[in-house]
């Protein structure tokens, strides 16, 4: 496939599937002789495809810009563009217990009711997982309920954890869980009901990064048994062009399209608004055509 000209392979986080599909469609409309191939995996699995399975990939978009920075730079890629954000929400459906009562103020009380089942994805495997933990820790501060995190964590049986957010959706749809912690974009795309959480705990706002930084958790490190500390940070999606890209130019064109008006519009419509001050990790290594988006700063 890599021998085929005018084809770019984009690996992206599962939560980006819908907007990326649309963007790819429009991109291909604009450049009819180009073919964009999309593959969705968990963010870390995307990285593993490149580092461990040696796939030849053009673009990778991750739900956490840190994944790109930790796994790919500097060996496989030179820069990471922060291009969108997201927020944590609690997704549910009509059959969820007490779904008519839940709101941004009482959600933790409802979750802690004994007949309510809730779950999140695996913090070690999925950014959505550790972000849930961070949200719980921030909630303890925000709602001023001491021990809330411990309670939320303790009340939830381990069996309610699933590796990825999609596995959680299966649990929700089968009514195995009443509430799951998930990205707002995913809830939005599934046309599901969700609880909008305050910015202080939903990890959306870059303005609140200091607040977010005040909480942390340990997740697994480079090898089994090793742990690293993960500090709270605003949710930032990263995208990069791989050094080994088969079509670096087209790849850059795709990123350009994403960052441009049309792309950003699609992102917004899918619940993933642009970052007001787009950021790049390594401006110098940026392809020329992309530099324009960051000069403004």
């Amino acid at each position: 496939k890599n021998s085929k000209k005018n084809e770019i392979l984009v690996l992206h986080a599962g939560s980006l599937s819908i907007p990326f599909k649309e963007i790819a469609k429009n991109f291909m409309k604009k450049y009819p002789d180009v073919k964009v191939v999309l593959e969705a995996h968990g963010s870390r699995t995307c990285a593993r495809q490149i580092t461990d399975l040696k796939r030849r990939v053009d673009i990778m978009a991750s739900a956490d810009t840190q994944v790109i920075k930790n796994f790919l730079i500097p060996e496989y890629a030179d820069f990471s563009i922060d291009f969108t954000t997201n927020e944590m929400t609690i997704m549910y459906n009509e059959k969820s217990k007490y779904s008519d009562e839940i709101n941004a103020k009482n959600w933790y009380k409802i979750l802690l009711r004994p007949d309510v089942q809730y779950g999140h994805s695996d913090p070690n495997a999925d950014p959505c997982g550790y972000r849930t933990i961070l949200t719980w820790k921030l909630s303890e501060k925000y709602y001023k309920v001491p021990g809330l995190f411990k309670k939320l964590d303790g009340e939830m049986p381990k069996k309610n954890i699933r590796p990825k957010e999609v596995d959680l959706i299966a649990m929700l749809e089968a009514y195995e869980l009443d509430y799951i912690f998930i990205y707002q974009s995913v809830a939005c795309q599934h046309k599901a009901k969700y609880v909008m959480l305050p910015d202080e705990i939903n990890l959306k706002s870059p303005d609140l990064s200091d607040l977010y930084r005040s909480v942390s958790l340990k997740i697994s490190g480079k090898k089994p048994g090793e742990f690293i500390e993960k500090r709270g940070a605003p949710m930032v999606y990263g995208i990069t062009l791989l050094r080994d890209a088969s079509n670096p130019y087209l790849g850059a064109k795709f990123i350009e399209f994403l960052l441009d008006k049309e792309g950003q519009k699609i992102m917004r419509e899918n619940g993933q608004p642009e970052i007001i001050y787009p950021n790049v990790d390594n401006y110098n290594k940026l392809p020329e055509i992309l530099k324009k988006y960051f000069k403004k700063r």
Binding site: K1, S3, G14, L53, V166, I169, A170, H190
Partner: protein, 249 residues
């Protein structure tokens, strides 16, 4: 009498166990959605692709696996048990690991690719390769067990009647274990269809039905994934029943 009742009861439990989830899934889909789904090119193309790739894998397995099964059933040789163990192995290898192992052998950096200049990854061929790897043991073992239950003297008789060993195999041994081989082929074909873990490592595109179902589920939820699944099941069921009826002829 009691015997029949108990046996029927036990069998019935099994049928319920398998049937309820499947039927439940089926009736959760209304026919009109099914019809609509079946008209989506993405859906029917991926189902055909899946069937086709698995058919290819099964054909290759018939060509290579049935002879192997025959040798394993008929001859004694050193290392036979090891080969039998090896043939069983793909069954237990976790699918992702199987995909990764295949990638190292068929991928961009493999000897094969370097020697031939061909890169099969991401093509229909690689899908067949993944399907073949995870499902060929079912065919080989079914054929082997079939051959073992056939008296070798039938072949000898054919040979005295003027058949070469080869002819004896094709005109006597093979037709006599036809049912086992058909059954094994069906199992292999079906197992290939369902494969996700290994296939997705070798080829995310073109999308096989399981990958499509997974993707739809991830992006849009069960409501969009189930009709594709039901469609896949219905078509397969028809194929299965058809072949099961045909095999008795």
């Amino acid at each position: 009498m009691k015997f029949k009742v108990i046996f029927s009861f036990l069998g019935f439990l099994l049928i319920l166990f398998i049937g309820i989830p499947i039927v439940k899934m089926m009736i959760s889909t209304d026919p009109s959605t099914l019809v609509l789904t079946s008209k989506e090119p993405e859906v029917y193309l991926s189902i055909f692709l899946t069937f086709r790739a698995s058919v290819w894998a099964t054909i290759i397995a018939l060509i290579t696996g049935v002879p192997l099964a025959y040798l394993l059933a008929r001859r004694e040789f050193w290392g036979k048990k090891i080969i039998e163990g090896l043939i069983d192995l793909p069954v237990i290898i976790p699918h992702t690991a199987a995909g990764i192992a295949l990638l190292t052998v068929w991928g961009r950096n493999s000897l094969f690719s370097k020697a031939t200049g061909i890169n099969v990854i991401g093509t229909e061929i690689s899908i067949s390769i993944a399907m073949f790897f995870v499902s060929v043991p079912f065919l080989v073992n079914a054929a082997k067990d079939g051959f073992k239950l056939i008296d070798e003297r039938y072949e000898k008789t054919a040979i005295t009647l003027g058949a070469t060993q080869c002819k004896a195999f094709f005109t006597v041994s093979l037709p006599m274990v036809k049912k086992s081989i058909i059954s094994g082929s069906l199992m292999m074909w079906g197992r290939g269809i369902s494969e996700f873990g290994a296939v997705i490592i070798l080829a995310y595109h073109p999308m096989t039905a399981p990958v499509l179902i997974f993707e739809r589920f991830q992006n849009f939820g069960l409501k969009y994934a189930i009709p594709v699944t039901v469609l896949l099941i219905l078509i397969s069921l028809i194929v299965f029943i058809f072949i099961r009826i045909f095999e008795d002829k």
